[in-house]
């Protein structure tokens, strides 16, 4: 019988320590130990992407990673997207563009999109479709999801340009 193994994971910027069985999956660690239930379990077989979280900034299916493997790493879940009470631009865009119907795939879709926009701040519709091809929307709401990601890209670009423009105007 295996025994508990101590791990410390930075989850949404907070150090969380626990003793876990090695076979515990990251998704169960997040949902059951930390009660962060925004990360959903869909297919449980590495297909659907509902359980996607960011591990050190990279989208990972948390049903296909052991919690012990996340020891010493940084995990971001949907609960970590808001800052200072304000929605992350991707969240605001999903809300604005009706990028969700039942909402089950939404956390995974948004986290995958956050990583995409970090990597490629101005993605084409094709780039977006390609990036989210590991996240399945059972409502088939893809049109508005793609629109939302595009819209978030525009918003984030504008937000990044405002301080730069202000600085330029001052000089």
């Amino acid at each position: 019988m295996s025994v508990g193994q101590p791990i410390t994971v930075s989850v949404n910027g907070e150090q969380r320590s626990a003793e876990v069985e090695p076979r515990l999956l990251l998704v169960h660690f997040l949902r059951e130990k930390l009660r962060l239930t925004g990360t959903h379990i869909g297919c449980d077989t590495t297909h659907c992407g509902a359980c996607t979280v960011l591990v050190d900034g990279t989208p990972v299916k948390s049903c296909t990673m052991l919690a012990v493997q996340a020891d010493g790493q940084q995990v971001t879940t949907v609960e970590g997207l808001m800052t200072a009470g304000a929605l992350h631009p991707i969240q605001a865009a999903f809300k604005e563009e009706h990028g969700l119907q039942c909402g089950f795939c939404t956390p995974g879709m948004m986290l995958t999109s956050v990583a995409l926009l970090k990597d490629n701040p101005d993605p084409s519709e094709d780039d977006i479709r390609w990036a989210i091809s590991g996240n399945i929307c059972r409502c088939t709401g893809y049109m508005n999801i793609v629109k939302a990601v595009r819209s978030a890209a525009v918003q984030m670009k504008a937000a990044a340009e405002v301080p730069a423009a202000t600085a330029a105007a001052r000089s």
């Binding site: 076979r23 996607t52 299916k61 296909t64 020891d71 091809s133 996240n135």
Partner: protein
């Protein structure tokens, strides 16, 4: 779904990992990207007593061309292959295959070496390595040995890798001038396993075929090297007749089973068509086009 209980080990060096594997024998299993192994554990198709996670070992995530050999480390992930300028420039069969593996999120974690060691007959990398004539370096506590890709696969999910060994390096002959390749894969949707896929790696020599590598995915109990088709091309001019003959031989080498993805006749025909198209694409690339 929860895996059966196991003990988890995260060694910091390859030697330490090999010591552990030596100690556990049949009861140990290497964990690399985990994108096949963890689902297998969850489905309880596998229940090793000990997992040896190599992700904390430094310097295993590499690709480099040195002394006439392209070397790939055991933690080189699909995503890195997809983004590699080196592969895109001269190893077309690998650059083509990388973005066709599973889906983008799985590609973030899964590794080429892990996929090869897993030896799914529907896996893509084994086929690519057969076409490109790779060597696999297998290391255990007792030492290391090198096995040709064509001698590595023994059947579905079965290879000559011993439980005490780690696939520490994939070695590929450095691509010479006039080399081109292609990987064509038919899948029902992103993330599905191949219905059929065909890998081509071609080196032209003075207007004739210097060497041709042809690999087939998902049309037999293991990834297949279409050796008769390869031999038919050696030293010949790559005209329509030669391409047709090689494609027919590749289709003969396929040994598909009928399933929900298609009938035997259909899959064999896709092998033929993909071999023709792949050879044309590879030869264009060898000449510096596309």
């Amino acid at each position: 779904m929860l895996p059966a209980p196991f003990e988890y080990h995260a060694p910091r060096t390859v030697d330490e990992a090999l010591d552990l594997l030596d100690q556990f024998g049949d009861d140990g299993k290497v964990l690399a990207g985990g994108q096949s192994l963890i689902p297998l554990l969850k489905l309880r198709f596998a229940s090793p007593g000990h997992l040896v996670d190599i992700n904390k070992i430094k310097d295993l995530d590499f690709i480099e061309e040195r002394d006439g050999t392209l070397r790939i480390g055991p933690l080189f992930r699909h995503k890195s292959a997809e983004r590699s300028a080196l592969l895109a420039s001269r190893y077309h069969v690998m650059a083509d295959a990388a973005p066709m593996i599973a889906d983008p999120i799985i590609r973030n974690r899964g590794t080429i070496a892990g996929s090869v060691a897993h030896a799914d007959p529907s896996g893509d990398w084994g086929t690519v390595l057969l076409a490109i004539d790779a060597d696999l370096v297998l290391r255990s506590k007792k030492g290391s040995r090198t096995v040709k890709a064509r001698d590595f696969f023994n059947g579905p999910f079965s290879t000559s890798l011993e439980p005490t060994e780690i696939l520490t390096e994939i070695r590929i002959p450095a691509a010479k001038a006039m080399t081109g390749g292609s990987y064509l894969k038919l899948e029902r949707k992103v993330g599905d396993f191949a219905t059929v896929a065909v890998a081509i790696h071609l080196r032209m020599d003075d207007g004739k075929v210097g060497s041709a590598g042809i690999g087939l995915t998902a049309v037999g109990p293991q990834n297949i090297k279409a050796e008769k088709a390869e031999a038919s091309l050696k030293g010949v001019r790559l005209d329509d007749a030669a391409i047709k003959q090689a494609a027919a031989l590749a289709a003969e080498a396929a040994d598909p089973k009928a399933d929900h993805r298609g009938s035997v006749e259909y899959k064999r025909n896709v092998v033929r068509v993909f071999t023709e198209r792949g050879l044309k694409r590879a030869s264009e690339r060898a000449r510096g086009g596309g």
